[in-house]
């Protein structure tokens, strides 16, 4: 595919991610931290985010599976997830964390399980989107183009 076309698709895709709320301004901050001395910063941070989140989601599933749920633990995990998703700009994931914490306070296992389900869905969606974005980037670089900046 021609470089210009790829770049246009990239810009459109990125813009749609912002428009649909998958990413927010924090993601732009990440991009600004990427420079010559740190050329793969965004990819590294996002990969770390994927690792961390998957670990936390596993821990949450296990914690909520116990006969006696330790809500403090669950809350701590959600807190971590909220922190990482917010700092990476994964807005929809972060937004799911707030009601989740409320359910923990109420010690309502059913509600927590529902929240967990929702978070998992949102996480998988954003993971998919980000991976597509990085693939597009790689295609552009392979075709000899530069990654366009999206404000």
């Amino acid at each position: 595919m021609e470089v210009g076309q790829l770049q246009r698709s990239f810009v459109e895709y990125m813009t749609s991610l912002f428009r649909e709320g998958f990413l927010d301004a924090q993601f732009c901050q990440l991009q600004q931290l990427q420079d010559d001395s740190n050329p793969d910063f965004v990819v590294e941070v996002v990969s770390l985010f994927f690792e961390d989140s998957e670990r936390l989601l596993n821990d949450l599933t296990m914690a909520l599976d116990q006969p006696n749920v330790d809500f403090k633990q669950v809350d701590a995990h959600v807190h971590q997830l909220k922190g990482s998703s917010s700092s990476v700009g994964a807005q929809r994931v972060k937004n799911c964390c707030v009601p989740f914490r409320n359910c923990c306070e109420e010690q309502n296992t059913e509600a927590c399980l529902r929240c967990l389900q929702q978070i998992k869905q949102e996480y998988l969606l954003v993971k998919n989107k980000l991976q597509t974005l990085f693939e597009l980037e790689q295609q552009i670089v392979a075709a000899g183009g530069a990654i366009p900046m999206v404000q």
Binding site: Q7, R8, F49, D52, G83, S86
Partner: protein
């Protein structure tokens, strides 16, 4: 007899009576028309006044809304939906303000109340800055935006006095429109300047209203002639340093059909609405008024048949300041300092004719003998840019070969090499070797490097290659081959445009890498490499020889250029704000830790990390015992799991007390409510930042802490 009587009655009575009646009728009609115009004028003025008043009222209310939004924001919890909504409201208010401002500007101009500011600024800098702003936006659509220096006259008249803000807004408006409506091809900004000659007829009535105003002044006995705008304009036009600048914004976009061209300058009309793009269309109306205010006129120029797009041309009058010693003065085309422009070109120059009027005999760079011109090989992707650079460089005396496709590259290289080898074998007249004039290089002397100077003439080739034209590997291989076989008397410099994929370490050290776009200061820098304009002649280094002792000669030029934004890769001499400082970051979330590290390292500091409060305490204790390991600042997360930020700080402060040391601790937290922030300060931390702080905020925090100490 009777017939004669009849004839005389007709000629002396009836005809004059008829004529007089007609005249009376016409007079009456004229007076009626004038009254109607007067009334229309009054109506329009009253409407403008009303609009201006309404504007002010609306602004007051908007300011009120803005203030109230700010107050609400203070009560909203961060990152809540309420705050997001309030932020959206804030941007809507700002949008409304922007629209109002442009409407207000227009009514101000119409009323004749608009005052142009006068400040000294650099025109070339402004032009390059503006074009570079639009370059990336247009590049996304594969549209090239270039600055065409035409005959180079803007270099001579670069420092001017005028209203920079308004000139900037005129150009951004035109460029914005051009970018909006062009989806392929190029946008050229052509600028040239000439001293205002006496044969020009100036538009002394810049505002259409004031020509009617003059009429109405005759009737209403208002002294419009003393209006501020006319006074200001007369002052500029009568100044001996008055210079006329002509601008052309030429694009290959949709174009404007002939019938709509006039109405485009009427306010509130936008000709082509594209995919629901909003625009109140006020732009061109204001531009016309502003241009007229500066003594000029704006119009749409017809393009050649078959060429699509639109070309807007306007001229303005500014006062030129004494030109300071320009670093690239040597490149100014055709004009020496003392000579008057008029005597060389004389009269009106249309947009095409200046290219033909290059009196090479007046060229301050060439002298009586025809020296051997340097060769330039231009290998670029963008066609129009190649054309513009070709014309410009030919005008300043270089021999330019343009390569558009990769297949032409090798043959062109061979051709140029062939020409130069042939030259060497010809008889060189001794007269050509006479006259070593240091500032006017008539032939090339080799400096340094111990080559035999007296009898050989070095031919210089400058090769400018856009790395995006094709496979970089192939091109660099071709260059390596060329370098190997190039004869001794040929000096070569290569400039690579845009470092995408360029492995600079593989290139010989005399090569220069430059980011696009190639115009303005970057262009002058490249031209500075050529011997005619001060470039040093270096021996050709073949790519195999990697001499470690030759330092990387980036930006090699004997003429330092001001304001050149050339991409210098990671020079170690660059000092970042926090270079040399040690910062300890305490954060338990791995993702946030990595991001924080990124922010701090961008500022140049050395980073140590800890995953929880206890580790931080341990690290600090170690540092207190061994002062060389002491950190300068601590960035502490307040919401950690085990020992959270507050406890850690308390412990740290206790430990420090034993040694009489206090390390500044900056908290970062997701909560900025008053209770939390109070706690932060009470527990002994020095400053707090929100979790999503940007590097500048961190700098501010450190600045605050340092100044507070002093």
């Amino acid at each position: 007899m009777l017939a004669a009587l009849a004839v005389s009655i007709v000629t002396f009575v009836i005809l004059p009576i008829r004529a007089a009646r007609r005249e009376m009728y016409l007079c009456a009609a004229l007076i009626k028309q004038m009254e109607a115009t007067q009334q229309a004028e009054r109506k329009s003025m009253k409407k403008s006044n009303a609009v201006a008043r309404a504007n002010h009222d609306i602004r007051a209310s908007l300011a009120g809304i803005s203030g109230l939004i700010d107050m609400c924001c203070a009560h909203a919890s961060p990152e809540s939906e309420l705050e997001n909504n309030l932020n959206d409201m804030e941007s809507c208010t700002n949008d409304l303000l922007a629209i109002l401002n442009s409407v207000l500007d227009q009514s101000k101009i119409e009323e004749g109340k608009k005052q142009l500011e006068e400040e000294e600024f650099d025109m070339e800098e402004l032009l390059e800055h503006l074009v570079n702003i639009y370059y990336p936006k247009a590049a996304m659509k594969n549209v090239d935006v270039l600055l065409d220096p035409c005959d180079g006259s803007i270099t001579r008249f670069s420092r001017v006095k005028g209203d920079r803000k308004e000139i900037r807004s005129i150009l951004t408006n035109l460029l914005d429109n051009a970018v909006k409506f062009t989806s392929e091809g190029h946008i050229s900004l052509r600028v040239w300047a000439r001293k205002a000659g006496s044969d020009q007829s100036y538009n002394l009535a810049p505002n259409t209203n004031s020509s009617i105003g003059c009429l109405s002044c005759f009737l209403l006995q208002n002294d419009v002639a003393d209006s501020a705008e006319l006074q200001g304009l007369n002052k500029v036009l009568q100044d001996p340093n008055c210079v006329e600048f002509v601008f052309e914004v030429d694009d290959t976009g949709k174009g404007i059909p002939k019938e709509k061209q006039k109405s485009v300058f009427e306010n509130y009309v936008q000709v082509n609405k594209k995919d629901g793009q909003t625009g109140t269309g006020l732009g061109l109306g204001i531009i016309q008024s502003l241009v007229r205010l500066m003594g000029g006129e704006i119009s749409i120029i017809d393009k050649e048949i078959g060429e699509k797009g639109s070309c807007f041309q306007f001229n303005i009058f500014l006062i030129a300041c004494e030109p300071q010693v320009q670093e690239h003065e040597a490149i100014s085309v055709n004009y020496s300092r003392e000579e008057d422009l008029e005597s060389q070109l004389g009269g009106y120059i249309s947009s095409d004719s200046y290219y033909h009027s290059t009196p090479s005999s007046n060229n301050s760079i060439t002298s009586h003998q025809k020296p051997e011109r340097s060769n330039v090989i231009l290998f670029m992707k963008e066609e129009e840019r190649s054309r513009v650079l070709y014309r410009f460089m030919m005008n300043i005396g270089l021999k330019v070969h343009v390569v558009n496709r990769y297949e032409q590259f090798l043959p062109t290289l061979k051709k140029v090499k062939g020409k130069l080898i042939n030259f060497q074998s010809k008889e060189i007249p001794l007269s050509a070797l006479d006259g070593t004039d240091d500032d006017q290089i008539t032939y090339f002397q080799i400096r340094g490097r111990g080559l035999n100077p007296k009898s050989s003439i070095i031919r210089f080739i400058l090769i400018i290659i856009d790395t995006r034209v094709g496979s970089f590997r192939e091109i660099s291989r071709a260059m390596a081959e060329f370098r190997k076989d190039s004869p001794k008397h040929v000096s070569l410099r290569v400039v690579w445009l845009d470092k995408q994929g360029v492995d600079e370490h593989k290139l010989p050290s005399t090569d220069v890498v430059m980011t696009k776009p190639l115009h303005g200061s970057r262009l002058y820098h490249v031209l500075g490499l050529v011997p005619e304009f001060g470039g040093a002649i270096l021996p050709t280094i073949t790519q195999e020889i990697e001499d470690d002792s030759t330092s990387r000669i980036k930006n090699q030029s004997t003429t330092p250029i001001q304001d050149v934004s050339i991409d210098v890769k990671g020079s170690s001499s660059k000092k970042l704000p926090l270079t040399g400082k040690k910062i300890l970051v305490v954060e338990d979330n791995r993702v946030q830790l990595k991001i924080c590290k990124g922010k701090v390292s961008q500022l140049g500091a050395t980073i140590y990390t800890c995953g929880n409060g206890a580790e931080a305490l341990a690290h600090v204790c170690k540092g207190l015992k061994d002062q060389s390991q002491l950190v300068d600042y601590i960035l502490m997360d307040c919401e950690m799991a085990d020992m959270n930020g507050f406890e850690a700080t308390k412990c740290i402060r206790e430990e420090e007390a034993h040694y009489g040391i206090r390390i500044p601790i900056i908290a970062f937290t997701a909560h900025t409510e008053k209770e939390k922030t109070d706690e932060i300060l009470q527990v002994g931390m020095d400053y707090y930042l929100p979790k999503d702080f940007n590097p500048n905020e961190l700098l501010k925090a450190i600045d605050y802490i340092e100044h507070r100490k002093v």
